[in-house]
Point group: C2
Chain length 333, copies 2
């Protein structure tokens, strides 16, 4: 079997460009004892990958130029030399931007019986959904009926975070980048208030949507969003620092919020996290989220790009607002 | 009895000036039933008071122009019309920048038998000492044998925070503003490493003093200190945001740390606090700190200005580094 894979051709400077990536065809070896060969059905592009394209020390090693990019994918076993991984079974992997691969079976995770389409395991039932869940309950210690602001609320993580908070009886305010996204938030997703961050002052929107202030801010954006939220936090509020997509493509250091000092008098807590810090909550997440999705309490959307040669465009689209909900690259049926 | 008091003459812009204050003599009424008349022995000037001189919404109302400034003081009851507050007893009050006052007795707190000179109850055994204690154990969840960085370490709060951490077996690094202060930290106070922040790069000093990174940063300074500490935090480190003296006199918004995004991957927690958020720890604080001071495990120094007419100078001195340890204004013996 042959597989096309996407390699990092050069490190992006500022906004990534399609020419920073290249698609290469490779031959996959047949699986030896203990190995499986997998054909990916879909793969994920996520904002955090931008950080891995920079050559610096971070919580995960940087991607290497000339090598295939890695990330979440869902695939089907097409050849197996491992008795517990039968052909036809669906597996999750973090091997990434490629149509297929041959690896030791243990490098993948069997999903078991699917309760949703495969791509959902890259979104609402996968890493982004769990990020939303642990960000609220772990990092932000969410309590029922609080007031919650979610930035980037039409994204893969934000759209789920807002709905979880709604399920817990919270007042939920969200920011997004277009009128269509805002309509989705206040319509299907049941946000109490949403606004297009391009229009008007962020703080005015927050005051309108949450007149009594914010107990929790789920930050996917950083920058001016974080500063505006700080101005509007209630005493002892919590801020979950999940992402800062507004500055991932910055080529110069971006100043932090000028009003961080407000955290002192208000007794605010800002807590940064990535999903793996809360691996101990994975079982709770899968149980709750599967139930919510099956009951129709949580909706999700995907923006789908077809084919491995569209992977770079899909990734770049994360920074131009091209996605509603989870950005997915579809590789096979 | 007459009392001189210090009033806010006008709101300071930038660094406070002695002309922003004025000393006025007032007559004190004799105490009526339930009241006491107190002659202050000493009063406190503290950096947080700078914030109250600005006319803005904050966790405490702003000082009013033309009115006496308030703050901690220790005094002796000279006339009493309350049976439980006998003449001669020592009381703590938060009525402030004045030589004496007549108030309802309940507006003061009886200290009981003193285990240290009265002024210690404005420092190590008072609000600054408790701020250090609750900042470490409450806001920063300090554990034994961690590595701790304290900025403004020769100040009233920092000098106590560093010693508490030392008692708990921590490696302690401190920054201060002069070679003499640095010598005091590494000498009498037992810091493992200290440096003058005027010399060299902060991050280089932190790497030298804490080669394996920081578990806890006790921030009294903000600005470049906070940014440097963020660069050097270990995974799951905690930052207690206690003060930001570097920017209290700023006349323009001061950008926050450009590397706050590092909190995400490292799972850092930044928690702002003021001492009253942890009032429930007051008994623990008094018990532990009294024991430590009596056992000689915690040392403290005071910088003493004599007379109410020196109160403004003492306050301004907080921002020019004039104090080693607690800044005290002595009013009577």
């Amino acid at each position: 079997m042959q597989s096309q894979e996407v390699r990092l051709k050069r490190r992006p400077v500022g906004m990534p460009d399609a020419d920073d990536f290249e698609v290469v065809t490779v031959d996959l070896p047949d699986p030896e004892a203990g190995e499986i060969q997998v054909r990916n059905l879909c793969m994920s592009v996520d904002p955090y990958m931008r950080g891995r394209m920079v050559d610096r020390k971070s919580y995960v090693p940087p991607f290497q130029v000339g090598e295939a990019l890695t990330g979440g994918a869902i695939g089907r076993i097409v050849k197996s030399a491992h008795p517990e991984y039968p052909e036809g079974e669906i597996v999750e992997s973090h091997l990434g931007w490629r149509e297929g691969f041959t690896v030791a079976a243990g490098q993948t995770r069997r999903i078991g019986e699917l309760s949703a389409p495969p791509s959902a395991y890259l979104g609402v039932l996968g890493m982004p959904g769990m990020t939303a869940y642990v960000g609220l309950f772990g990092a932000a210690s969410l309590k029922d009926k609080e007031t919650v602001f979610v930035s980037g609320a039409a994204g893969a993580v934000g759209s789920i975070a807002g709905q979880i908070a709604r399920i817990r009886g919270c007042r939920v305010v969200g920011s997004a980048g277009s009128a269509d996204k805002v309509a989705w938030l206040t319509g299907e997703l049941g946000f109490d208030h949403a606004f297009d961050y391009h229009d008007g002052r962020l703080l005015d929107h927050l005051r309108e949507g949450a007149p009594d202030g914010l107990d929790v801010y789920f930050d996917n954006v950083g920058g001016d969003h974080l500063e505006a939220a700080l101005f509007h936090m209630r005493p002892f509020g919590r801020i979950a620092l999940c992402g800062a997509i507004s500055q991932y493509n910055a080529t110069e250091p971006v100043p932090g919020p000028s009003n961080l000092v407000m955290a002192i008098g208000l007794g605010l807590t800002l807590r940064g996290f990535i999903v793996s810090h809360f691996d101990h909550m994975a079982d709770d997440f899968r149980r709750d989220m599967t139930a919510w999705v099956n009951a129709g309490e949580i909706s999700y959307r995907e923006t789908v790009y077809d084919g491995i040669d569209k992977a770079a465009d899909a990734f770049i689209g994360l920074f131009t607002g091209a996605n509603v909900g989870k950005m997915i690259v579809r590789l096979a049926d």
